[in-house]
Symmetry: C2
Subunit: 157 residues, 2 copies
C-alpha cells in the first residue's frame, strides 16, 4: 500500500468535499470463465456458474457469473480506482440489482454518482453519503446497479 493509498491520505474525499452529482469512474476489469468458476466453486456452487454445458439448460442460457462475484469485482474496482473516500469505502448497506448477467469475456467498469450527503446529527465526525454505482459491460449494458449508504468522515478541524 503506497502512501497515497493510506486512508485519509492526499487526494481522498471527506464528506465535506463531496457534492451531489459528483461522478467517479473506475478502471476496467476483464472477467473470464476461469474466474467465474473459481468464485462459484467457493461461494455460489450452482450449475449455471460452474459448468458451461449445464448452464445452457438454465434461465441464464449459458455460463454467467454469480451476482456476488459481480458485486465483489465492483468493490475491488471502486476501492482501487473508483471512489477515493477518506476512511475508505465503508457501507452500512444498500440496494442491489442485476439486470443483465455478467458473462465470460465481459469488460466491467463502474461509474459512481453521489445522490445524497447527510452529516450525522449525533456524530459530528462523520456522515452518510448515498452513492449509486452502475457496473457496465463493454456493450454499455448495466450488469449491476448498487445504491449504497456509505459512512464518510468529516474533514478534521
Amino acid at each position: 500500500m503506497s502512501e497515497s493509498d493510506e486512508l485519509g491520505g492526499k487526494g481522498r474525499f471527506y464528506l465535506d468535499d463531496l457534492a451531489v452529482g459528483r461522478r467517479f469512474t473506475t478502471a476496467t476489469h476483464v472477467i473470464d470463465a476461469e474466474q467465474i468458476k473459481a468464485f462459484a466453486g467457493q461461494f455460489d456452487p450452482q450449475p449455471f456458474h460452474l459448468d458451461d454445458e449445464k448452464a445452457k439448460g438454465t434461465l441464464f442460457a449459458g455460463l454467467a457469473a454469480s451476482g456476488w462475484h459481480t458485486a465483489a469485482i465492483t468493490m475491488r474496482l471502486m476501492v482501487e480506482t473508483g471512489l477515493p473516500l477518506a476512511g475508505g469505502i465503508l457501507g452500512a448497506g444498500g440496494e442491489i440489482a442485476w439486470p443483465q448477467p455478467t458473462r465470460p469475456g465481459d469488460t466491467l467498469q463502474v461509474e459512481s454518482e453521489v445522490l445524497e450527503i447527510t452529516p450525522s446529527r449525533s456524530r459530528p465526525d462523520r456522515g452518510v453519503a448515498v452513492i449509486r454505482s452502475l457496473t457496465r459491460n463493454q456493450k454499455n449494458e448495466v450488469v449491476q446497479s448498487l445504491t449504497s449508504k456509505l459512512i464518510v468522515p468529516r474533514r478534521p478541524g
Copy 2:
C-alpha cells in the same frame, strides 16, 4: 454434485410449494482471520479487512470481514443447506444491510423466511419469491440482513 442436488431434483421447492412464513435454516460456517484477509486481498483490499493492527484505528476498531464476504458466505450456506429451490437460487436483486461487523472466529448461520410469492403474469412457468435471509453470529446478533427477489420456476404440468 449428487443426484439429489441437481436443480429440479427431489426435495426441491417449486414456487407452488412455497408458503409465506415458511422458514429455512442453514448449517453453520466458522470464519477466521485468514479467510477474511484472503477475500479482502482479492476483492476488498482495505486496511480494516487486511491488517489487525491498522484495523484498530478505524471505525471497525478491529479486523472485520468485507460485507461482500459475509454476503458470499451467506450465499454458499443457502445454496448448500439452506434454500432448496427448484432451478437453484437465482436472484434479480434485493436490499442488503450489515448492522454488525463479521469478526474472526464468528460462527455464521442463515435463516430465511418467505415474505411474498408472486406468479409471473407474462411467464406462466415462473414467478418471484421475496425471501428475507438473516445471517447471525454465535451471539445471535444479525451481521447481515438480505431481502432478495428470487426467480422460482412453477411446478411443471
